[in-house]
Symmetry: C2
Subunit: 139 residues, 2 copies
C-alpha cells in the first residue's frame, strides 16, 4: 500500500510553492522543466546517463549495446546534446581505429544522483503501474 502522510504532502506543497510561487502562471516565462528536463529526462538520455554511471567510461558501440534498441543516429544525437548541456565529456583518441570515450562530468554525476531517486522508484513500483494499467483496461 502507498503510505503518503499528510505531513509529506505538506512538504511537497511547500516545495512546489517555492518552485511555482514566483512564476506568473499566466505569462510564458522561461521554464527549466520544458527546456532542461525535456532533454535530460527523455527515455534514451536516462538510460545513457545510468549506464555511464554504472561503467565509468564507455565507447560508442558498447553504449549502443547496453542501450539496446537505440539507433546510431539517435545515440549520436543524444550524446551530442548531453555533451552540449554539460552532462558528459567526449574524448577522442586519434588512434587507428579511432577511439572515442564518453564519461560523466561532475555536473552529470550531480544530475544522476537525483535521477537515480526516480529510477529507483520506477523500478520498485513498476509492477504496481502494470497492475493499474491492466485493471484500467478491463474496467
Amino acid at each position: 500500500m502507498e503510505t503518503v502522510t499528510d505531513n509529506q504532502k505538506l512538504k511537497v506543497a511547500k516545495k512546489l510553492k517555492k518552485m511555482f510561487g514566483h512564476i506568473d502562471l499566466k505569462t510564458e516565462t522561461y521554464c527549466p522543466i520544458r527546456d532542461v528536463m525535456a532533454l535530460a529526462s527523455d527515455k534514451w538520455s536516462i538510460l545513457i546517463m545510468l549506464y555511464l554511471g554504472y561503467f565509468p567510461v564507455l565507447r560508442f558501440n558498447k553504449l549502443k549495446k547496453y542501450v539496446y534498441g537505440i539507433s546510431n543516429k539517435v545515440l549520436s544525437e543524444r550524446l551530442k546534446m548531453l555533451e552540449s548541456d554539460g552532462y558528459l565529456t567526449r574524448t577522442m583518441y586519434p588512434e587507428v581505429p579511432i577511439r572515442v570515450e564518453y564519461q560523466l562530468t561532475n555536473f552529470g554525476h550531480s544530475y544522476l544522483r537525483k535521477l537515480l531517486e526516480l529510477t529507483e522508484w520506477a523500478t520498485s513500483h513498476g509492477d504496481t503501474v502494470i497492475k493499474n494499467r491492466k485493471k484500467f483496461k478491463t474496467a
Copy 2:
C-alpha cells in the same frame, strides 16, 4: 561549482549495481525505465503532475491554461494515460455543463515526491545548462 565527492559517487555506483546487477545486460528483459518512466517522465506528464501537486484539484481547462502550449488532444491523452497508470483520478460530475475533476492519487503523490527532487535540481541548475550549451555552440 559542482561538488561531487568520491563518497557520493560510490553510493551512486552501489545503487546502480543494485539496479543493474541482476539484469543480464545482453538480453532484453523487462525494463521499467523504458516502460514506466518513458510515460511518466515526459515533459507534459511532469508538468501535469507538478500542477496537480500544487493545486489539489484541477479541471481540464484550468490544467490546459497552466500547462500552456499543450493541445487538447495531447492533454486528454496524457491524462488518460496517467489515470490508467494510477497516478491520478478523473471524477466526472454529470452536471450541465459537465464538470470533470482531476487529482493525484496517493500513488501519484509518492511519485511526485521523487519527481520533485529532479525538477528542483533542474530549476536550480538550469542556468548552468544554458551556460554550457552556449559555450559548446561557440566552441
